[in-house]
């Protein structure tokens, strides 16, 4: 542990679906100026764990979470935490691009509207432009902001979703395999974008692509069968893993 306080910390987190335990006793920190990657084979609990960080598991009635997760030292599962405000502070980008079937402008403006971030139209316009610029999409769509968001290409849609998440001014952005449904060129753009966003936001990314984890992240957590096997600096994990299982996975022995 370093001296600077972590943006988010999870301590002893367990997630149950009914009687089945999907995540077992996981402790991880997410820091402001770092990208943290969660890797591991399918069904290892990495996405489930990611979704506990902004309480998206609340939407599944059988899901139950124990353990402590804090954001700036506040327990996010305490009754004092408003889940809506939490999700505004901890944004999320999903595996498949899911723009609303509305115009590009409305997609980005929706979040600031419901959170009351833009008292005037001009400010809203400014937020939309800034978010689209940060997502690297502005140049491509500035002339057709009124076109439907669903008419964009897959890669553009995913960047639109990132712009939408940025627009509510979050502190943490969670990305659940954001490039897995995209072609290699679109994937490269998303990775480039993650690089640029680092420092402004704390980022956690789930990926099944180890090269991607190595390229974009500074910290890596390896999950297997619901447990956190190894967690450390990305360089260390990919060069000198402590655990045999990590090594096997990274070298492609299984996965």
């Amino acid at each position: 542990m370093t001296d600077t306080p972590h943006k988010m910390s999870a301590r002893g987190v367990n997630v149950f679906y009914g009687n089945k335990q999907a995540v077992k006793d996981v402790s991880i920190d997410i820091d402001m100026d770092k990208v943290t990657a969660f890797i591991g084979p399918s069904g290892c609990g990495k996405s489930t764990f990611l979704r506990t960080l902004n309480r998206m598991n609340d939407t599944i009635s059988s899901a139950r979470v124990t353990g402590d997760i804090t954001l700036d030292g506040e327990d996010i599962y305490s009754s004092a935490m408003d889940v809506v405000q939490l999700r505004a502070r901890v944004g999320m980008v999903f595996q498949k691009p899911n723009p609303f079937p509305k115009s590009i402008y409305e997609n980005v403006a929706y979040g600031p509207r419901i959170h009351g971030l833009a008292p005037s139209r001009a400010e809203l316009d400014a937020i939309v432009e800034r978010s689209l610029r940060r997502a690297g999409l502005w140049e491509e769509v500035k002339d057709r902001l009124q076109d439907s968001g669903t008419a964009l290409s897959g890669g553009q849609q995913q960047r639109l979703c990132i712009a939408r998440a940025i627009a509510v001014d979050p502190e943490v952005i969670l990305m659940d395999e954001p490039a897995s449904a995209l072609d290699p060129i679109a994937t490269a753009k998303i990775e480039e974008l993650i690089h640029e966003l680092r420092g402004r936001y704390a980022i956690a990314i789930v990926t099944h692509n180890m090269q991607q984890a190595a390229r974009v992240s500074q910290r890596t957590a390896f999950f297997h069968l619901g447990t956190l096997v190894e967690y450390g600096d990305t360089d260390q994990i990919f060069t000198t893993p402590h655990e045999e299982r990590t090594k096997d996975y990274i070298t492609g022995r299984y996965g």
């Binding site: 408003d82 809506v84 405000q85 505004a88 419901i114 959170h115 009351g116 971030l117 001014d169």
Partner: protein, 458 residues
């Protein structure tokens, strides 16, 4: 003040509350917080809700309660002493007084009612005034209470959303209340009927002639077996003889043989048969089909053929039911895995062999469920039998003779001018209860079969 004016006033107060709260929330000191829990509009909604809902709830309760209060007040009037003690007559006179009080230029036949008109009017005005004042007071009180709570840290959004959720829950409870209401109202009136007529007479008696009811033994002429038979004969036998082959063969042809373009056009056309109002079928049956059936019967040698034969009503009902059978059959045939069909065809079976030996047996549960639903629909059908079937209750197997049904008798019993409490009127509710229970059972069985069948192929 009439009800609409009151509603508008309350709505107006709500709007003012909304605007006030929103304006106040707009001036909140953000106190350095990055964002507040609730938006100004949400604070507005909170205040509007508190202004409008309690007042509306009160108006609803008051409009149910105040007629009773008016009645009590009128009964206190000296002239009310002359009213007859018997509830039914007394209520009739009070209703007359109410009519005189509320209509310009109306005059009462009964002098007591005429005397009570003025007190009725006064009492009505008094209670209406009280209700209005209380509703407006409540609106103000609600608004004031809510406005005091509006401050930067107040979680208006959560409150408004909890209110909305409650509204949704109440809306979904109406379905249960309707079912319960149907069941209880039928049961209640039926129980009153069975106090006067033994249930065994009703369920097992074979003589039905409600026009002449022996006051000493009403059960003697209220035996419903001929109605049950007539309903079954017309709805479940004659109609199904038409509907099952036509519906099933249509579904088979449209799913297995027809070109997509034919299917695209013919399916909606067949469904139009289900969209034609039943009163139109009834008129058609009475005007065109029934005379034709009678002529046919006469040419076959039945000299006394009825022009209200069971056959005419059953035939037309069968045609109406075709789309029900065909769409259920269509669905269940489509649910049979293609692999089964391909397997049969690959062995060299012809299409018809595949259909009759593989597809139909596999889809049978779905088809049977469809037929059950169609029967339930047919026996509940009213207008065709009201217009084309006879009122004479016969137990007959001859389709050219007349037969009557439960629904036809319900309409006949309730459209005459008779008192609400007579066994004749109440018998309609007992028939309704029987019909409700039977259609419910058919429906439950059918839905269960369909569900089992779907699970089998998923």
């Amino acid at each position: 003040m009439n009800a609409f004016a009151l509603l508008f006033l309350v709505a107006g107060l709500g709007l003012i509350g909304w605007l006030t709260a929103r304006a106040r929330a707009n001036r909140f000191d953000r106190g350095g917080a990055r964002r507040l829990h609730s938006l100004p509009g949400q604070h507005g909604m909170y205040v509007a809700m508190w202004t409008v809902l309690p007042a509306l709830l009160f108006v609803a309760v008051w409009s149910a309660v105040s007629p009773g209060l008016v009645k009590e007040a009128v009964l206190q009037h000296p002239a009310a002493a002359q009213l007859p003690q018997f509830d039914f007559e007394r209520d009739a006179l009070l209703a007359e007084a109410r009519r005189v009080a509320n209509e310009d230029g109306a005059a009462a036949f009964d002098p007591v009612a005429q005397q009570l008109a003025a007190p009725t009017r006064d009492a009505q005005a008094r209670y209406r005034w009280m209700g209005t004042a209380a509703a407006i007071l409540l609106a103000f009180a609600g608004a004031a209470f809510a406005l005091t709570r509006v401050r930067a840290s107040f979680k208006a959004r959560s409150r408004v959303e909890r209110g909305t959720m409650l509204l949704l829950l109440v809306a979904s409870l109406i379905a249960i209340l309707t079912t319960l209401g149907i069941f209880l109202s039928l049961l209640w009136e039926s129980l009153r009927f069975f106090q006067q007529v033994p249930i065994t007479d009703f369920l097992f008696g074979t003589h039905w002639s409600p026009q002449v009811i022996d006051a000493g033994d009403p059960g003697k002429s209220l035996g419903a077996v001929p109605l049950f038979w007539g309903t079954f004969f017309i709805g479940a036998i004659i109609a199904m003889i038409v509907a099952i082959p036509f519906g099933l063969m249509s579904a088979i042809y449209l799913t297995q043989y027809a070109a997509p373009s034919v299917r695209k056009w013919m399916k909606p056309i067949l469904e139009m048969l289900a969209g034609v109002p039943t009163v139109v079928y009834g008129y058609f049956a009475a005007l065109t089909v029934a005379p034709a059936v009678r002529d046919l019967a006469v040419s076959l040698g039945y000299t006394y053929a009825s022009s209200e034969s069971a056959l005419a009503a059953g035939l037309v009902m069968g045609v109406m039911i075709i789309p029900f059978v065909s769409s259920m059959a269509d669905d269940s045939i489509a649910a049979v895995p293609t692999a089964m069909r391909d397997g049969s065809l690959a062995m060299g079976a012809t299409t018809s062999e595949t259909i009759s030996r593989v597809l139909i047996p596999a889809a049978l549960p779905g088809v049977v469920a469809g037929v059950l639903l169609a029967v339930s629909r047919a026996i509940g059908e009213t207008m065709i039998v009201v217009m084309a079937a006879s009122g004479a209750a016969n137990i007959t197997l001859n389709p050219f003779e007349s037969a009557t049904t439960v629904t036809k008798q319900i309409v006949d019993l309730l459209t005459g001018e008779s008192e609400f409490d007579s066994p004749k009127t109440l018998a309609a509710f007992a028939l309704g209860l029987t019909l409700f229970v039977i259609t419910l059972l058919l429906n439950i069985v059918a839905l269960r079969v369909v569900k089992k069948y779907r699970e089998a192929y998923e």
